[in-house]
């Protein structure tokens, strides 16, 4: 099976004893059955289902953009659009913060770029210890369907790099579907937003990077 196909829950993907059930699948007898709606893919006998819709599923290592929802005595609760609230601990902040003034660094409603460094039953733990992470001060944030994020980034970042070059903006794509655009002019930021929305609208097309190049030629930023 080389071509990916859409499967629905309960549908048999492949038959055969030697296949391994991966994410979103289950083995029933000698059949591998899909457990969720999405694209079925088989690589080296490992079968999995890539989701096409639904809410964002957090994973360890994901870079996400979230909103501060609550301040506790030792950190911040961040809404990342997943089914669970995420926690950013004070110990995961790379600089000194006064324990009585957590809101001085980040207050309610502030946006933050963070990384998921741990996930367990109790919740999701975030960190802002690496480069490029931290509070967002300027720019605009747009929301797209989290399942379209891979299309926005493209193969090895081809799509997002094209948008960055054409619009001269700094763009951070959160895996949860929030995208932070920061440029020196508002016009450039809005231009980048338009380009990203074009990608998400046409996300089912093949050769989308070429299509976007054409779009940039036709829709110049005045």
């Amino acid at each position: 099976m080389t071509e990916r196909k859409i499967v629905i829950p309960g549908e048999m993907i492949v038959k055969g004893e030697d296949y391994l059930p991966g994410e979103g699948t289950e083995k029933r007898g000698d059949e591998v059955v899909a457990l969720r709606y999405g694209l079925a893919e088989e690589v080296k006998k490992l079968v999995k289902v890539i989701p096409l819709s639904g809410v964002y599923q957090p994973r360890r290592g994901n870079i996400i953009i979230g909103k501060v929802e609550r301040i506790t005595f030792n950190g911040w609760l961040i809404d990342i659009g997943a089914h669970d609230c995420a926690f950013l601990s004070l110990t995961e902040v790379p600089r000194y913060v006064n324990k009585d003034g957590l809101e001085e660094l980040m207050d309610l409603g502030h946006m933050v770029v963070a990384k998921i460094w741990n996930m367990n039953k109790r919740g999701i733990d975030l960190s802002i210890k690496s480069r490029g992470l931290g509070k967002i001060d300027e720019g605009i944030i747009i929301e797209v369907n989290p399942n379209k994020v891979p299309r926005v980034i493209g193969k090895e970042g081809s799509m997002i790099n094209l948008i960055k070059d054409e619009t001269k903006c700094n763009i951070t794509v959160g895996q949860n579907g929030l995208i932070w655009i920061q440029g020196d002019k508002v016009e450039n930021e809005l231009y980048a937003k338009k380009a990203i929305l074009f990608v998400t609208e046409k996300s089912f097309m093949d050769g989308l990077t070429e299509e976007l190049k054409k779009w940039f030629k036709e829709n110049k930023n005045e």
Binding site: I8, P9, G10, G24, P51, S53, G54, V55, K121, F204
Partner: protein
């Protein structure tokens, strides 16, 4: 089975209402949504979640909760019905939950809830079945892990004849002989029953006959649901 028996709309005893059609992704703001039509009955289902359960005291730390809300819109029938929840809609909401619960896998979402809102925009009997069909597709569209998709249809008995998919006249106004019996049922594609209700009298043999009839019909409904889910392009 008596061959002479004539149904009011000319259908054969084992014939369901047509056209049956389905569409997925009808509510853009929902995480998953679907529409299911059979004859004059049209149901829309929208799924939200998994999200945090509120109020907190109804959270279940063992597994996630499925919460269905069935609602008939005031213009769905010929004479306006009073909007808002009532005894009947509360019952159907609960029945829908029970019909879907065996297939949805919410063990990985403790303290969470998946909300399913079912709205009937046009009602002509068989609304709970249409609602379940739409909800099953909407749940799949929302990316909720499920063992299978369920399909639902009613069978029943008119006087002495076992028939499939009763319409409004047959369900509520048919009074000849023994009258009418309505049996809504929900099946998985491999023929397992997840929900059955009986409204009226029926013998053991005829119940079996009705179940087999409904089981066959559900296969066709399943194909419609499958087709609808495979066609969406966003």
């Amino acid at each position: 089975m008596s061959k002479e028996f004539k149904r009011q709309d000319g259908r054969k005893p084992n014939e369901m209402r047509r056209p049956i059609s389905a569409k997925v992704g009808v509510v853009p703001n929902a995480d998953g949504s679907a529409m299911y039509c059979s004859g004059k009955t049209i149901a829309i289902a929208a799924v939200y979640g998994p999200k945090k359960m509120h109020p907190q005291h109804s959270q279940n730390p063992e597994k996630g909760t499925l919460r269905c809300t069935y609602n008939m819109l005031s213009f769905s029938v010929a004479d306006r019905i009073r909007p808002g929840p009532n005894r009947r809609s509360t019952e159907i909401s609960k029945i829908t939950e029970w019909a879907l619960e065996p297939v949805v896998m919410l063990d990985k979402y403790p303290n969470r809830v998946v909300d399913v809102y079912i709205h009937m925009i046009q009602a002509d009997a068989g609304t709970r079945c249409a609602g379940i069909n739409a909800a099953a597709m909407a749940l799949a569209h929302a990316g909720i892990p499920m063992k299978n998709i369920v399909s639902s249809i009613a069978a029943g008995k008119l006087d002495k004849t076992v028939v499939l998919d009763l319409d409004k006249y047959e369900d509520s106004e048919f009074k000849e002989g023994e009258g009418s019996t309505d049996i809504p049922m929900t099946f998985t594609p491999d023929g397992k029953l997840t929900h059955i209700q009986v409204d009226g009298h029926i013998s053991k043999e005829q119940l079996k006959e009705a179940m087999n009839m409904a089981r066959e019909a559900c296969k066709e409904i399943y194909e419609v649901q499958k087709q609808a889910l495979k066609e969406i392009k966003e």
